[in-house]
Amino acid sequence: MIADVALPPLAIEKLPSGLTLLALQKRGLPLFHARLSLAAGACEDPRGKAGLAQFTVDLLRRGTRRRPAQDVDDLIESMGAHLSADVSMEEAALALTVPADLADRALDALLEVALEPAFEENEVSSARRRTVASLQSDLDEPSTVAARAVVTLGYGPTHPYAHPTQGWRRDVETFRPEDARGFHATRCQQNGGLFAVVGQDEPQRLLSMLRQKLTQWQASWPGPAQRQPLHFSALPPGEGLRAVVVHKPDATQAQVRIVAPGLPRTTPRYAEAVVTNTGLGGGFTSLLVDAIRVDRGLSYSVSTRLHMNRRAGLSVFSSFTKNETLRELIDVALEKMRAYAAAGPSEDALDKARRYLAGLFPLGLESHEALAEQIADAILDGVGLDHLAKYRSRVLAVTLDQARSIAGEISPARPGAQLVVVGEADVARRALNGLCPVDVRQLDEFA
């Protein structure tokens, strides 16, 4: 019997400023975790400044008004902590985990970095050179290039999600200290943010500590700022299959992605979508893994993923194969995905997918970091704690009719799909002959 999972003891408080406080009690290992989420994701990157959110967040630790970058590193790492600075499409999150007895120091360090960055000219120039070099190096990793192509092509030319969080080299080269300062001043706002802590104490005590700490740092927050509302246009309408080949010289293997408009994370049909996707390409016994890896030995890795952002999403097929079997892999993938879109899963496959997701769900709540992130995201995305507390029962309740009805909407092969191949252009062009129009691009276009 798979029952719903009780969330750990927690307390939530929304401050008048719009900042949400979240305190979670987790006994066991003597660890303390803090996570500050801000509404400063990559979708907020200004036009022509793709990558500014990530660039700004990376710069936060490169010196504050109180100490230079090296001393910031020492401050954090002397506690045995790594400060993570993750930027998704929706938010920027700073987080660190320390031994429990260092909780107070950890909160001070995190707030100093988040609220009092210096953005000095030399650090900004140095970060710009590092980022540009890193974007250039990324071109040597075919799967990274494929991922960058997927978001760009999948969301179309004007959508706020239509660029990689790391940005484009041409945009990063223009970044100046005033860009980072401006982004920080307008996006590092309490409104829309969430500050989560996970520790051994009772939630109310943790909450009280958090309140006290925020009072000490109150004056350091940037003043209120207006931001331009974002325009989330509908994703491009469906047409026939099109292919983009990104030329990678000397590749003996091709990376393959098939991408189509999908569903947002806020969809009321979330459970149906994830269960149905699991049957298609989510687990190790999914339809596609069976057809491509187990039955034919065409690839080591096969999957379909729902890339769900808050206001739009993509459905993405991913795999790779040797040059000689590129067309075979694409043909099998398209045939299987189209059939699944039309008919959905079998009763057995549906049951397996439901139980697989429900059984493994608690694993995502085990660590301090995962717990804070899952609950913070549920609150920020507006889906509520029931999204987690009732996850197992919702997943187990998905019916065959529901799965069949959504199968077409989550299929990466639905009308309007785009095929992305990163590999030898001549090989790929020959392989795709007669399948669909092919547009060959150079690697540098995706730096």
């Binding site: 020492d74 790492e77 140095s126 293997q253 065409l298 790779f320």
Partner: protein
């Protein structure tokens, strides 16, 4: 501060056939993890069948007497679980994460394949193609993979660490069904396995189940000896790779101690001081101050036999690798010449301790750590006093081990230059 044994009430059991069992209950979430550690990896191979340990890992999912082809994962996923495995130079580990009520099924699946794995030509042929794809992905089309393969062949002349875990492509193509059957009989017996179960279960009934399912499996014979000899290195060795990349790269290796040598713990701290965190020496000098590299990273993992201490430098486009190397040698010399100051040593210790604790947060992490301690250090109890052993390391220890390890004539250097191979 040592871990309190009360927080780690691991039960130790063994069956007459040699199977080692470690159980650790944690009822906080309704999940559990089972690891099966087999003491076999690429060090147990020979030229001609390199990669068989890893290929065999794939074969373990292709059916056994009770559960036919495709059944292992289908049954497991249907019960709310997932499986995976990895092969290293020294061991092969299989694991299942699962909803706790799936425990009887999980144990039955594992015991059945240990007792009666099916190895047929058709599944071997398919799995061989999958592994070749994995090799193309991780090695032939991946800069880190191709450099690591070259470094292994440079650092070791005689020891089996010389070849890559995934094996040479020609060997993967040549491995036969008979090779696999012989391999299974030799290494997949209960006396070569440690079972680690962590999570939400009742200890008594879990042990009873394990005894019932595993006791009928006969013990295997003595394991063939591994040729562990390696001549002393008498001079620097170098290899060059040309590949159409966007930036050059340098990978350096020094032969270090084996995992049970106390100096391995000192090298863990040196690894942290050099490359863990943004304030680490190599990051600070080569990435931030001199702007030579996109990333500078150290890899050091415990091995059964003396293994490599590796430093990877991903250079900025256009940087001369010789310049980056020179800066690296200067940083390594500094470790040898100057005692590490107390705050930096404490920083390294805190980073290693925190990483160790974070690794124990999940059932999978605890299970893996217990098994790894058994295989690499001989007992899971080693994890209890590991924090104390790190805490006792002094600046003099760091300097002594650095001097012993980073001698110029023990360098092995692989350099990747952007460009095509000349015909």
């Amino acid at each position: 501060m040592a871990l309190d044994p009360k927080d780690f009430p691991v039960e130790e059991h063994a069956l007459p056939n040699g199977l080692q069992i470690r159980l650790l209950q944690d009822r906080s979430l309704p999940v559990a993890t089972l690891y099966s550690f087999f003491r076999v990896g690429s060090r147990n191979e020979r030229p001609g069948i390199t990669g068989i340990s890893h290929l065999f890992e794939h074969m373990m999912f292709n059916g056994s007497r009770k559960y036919g082809p495709k059944e292992f994962d289908r049954r497991l996923e249907s019960a709310g679980g997932s499986s995976n495995a990895y092969t290293s130079n020294d061991l092969t580990a299989y694991y299942e994460d699962f909803a706790s009520d799936a425990l009887p099924l999980v144990l039955d699946l594992e015991a059945d394949r240990m007792a009666s794995l099916t190895i047929d030509d058709a599944s071997l042929a398919r799995e061989r193609e999958v592994v070749k794809e994995e090799r193309r992905f991780r090695t032939d089309n991946d800069i880190d993979g191709m450099m690591d393969e070259a470094l292994g062949a440079l650092t070791f002349l005689a020891h089996p660490y010389r070849w890559p875990v995934i094996g040479w492509m020609t060997d993967i193509e040549a491995i036969t069904r008979q090779d696999c059957e012989q391999y299974f009989r030799t290494y997949y017996a209960p006396n070569n396995c440690t079972l680690v179960l962590v999570g939400d279960f009742d200890g008594k009934s879990a042990l009873g189940l394990i005894e019932r399912l595993y006791s009928p499996i006969p013990s295997g014979g003595r394991l063939p000896p591994v040729p562990t000899g390696e001549p002393a290195q008498k001079g620097e060795r170098r290899a060059v790779i040309r590949y159409p990349s966007h930036a050059p790269a340098v990978l350096v290796g020094f032969r270090g101690p084996h995992g049970r040598d106390p100096d391995s713990l000192v090298l863990d701290l040196i690894e942290a001081a050099l490359s863990s965190g943004e304030g680490a020496r190599l990051k600070r000098a080569l990435v931030y101050q001199q702007e030579l590299c996109v990333d500078a990273h150290v890899f050091f993992g415990w091995r059964v036999d003396p293994g490599p201490f590796e430093v990877s430098l991903k250079l900025n486009p256009g940087i001369d690798p010789a310049r980056a190397e020179s800066s690296l040698w200067a940083e390594l010399s500094r470790l040898c010449d100057e005692p590490m100051r107390v705050p930096e040593l404490e920083r390294a210790k805190n980073l290693v301790r925190a990483q160790f604790l974070r690794g124990l947060q999940t059932s999978n992490g605890r299970s893996h750590t217990i098994g790894q301690m058994e295989v690499m250090l001989g007992t899971w109890r080693a994890l209890l006093d590991l924090p104390d052993r790190y805490a006792a390391i002094t600046a003099a220890d760091v300097q002594r081990v650095a001097r012993k390890t980073f001698m110029p004539h023990r360098r092995n250097v692989v350099t990747l230059f952007p460009g095509e191979v000349e015909p």
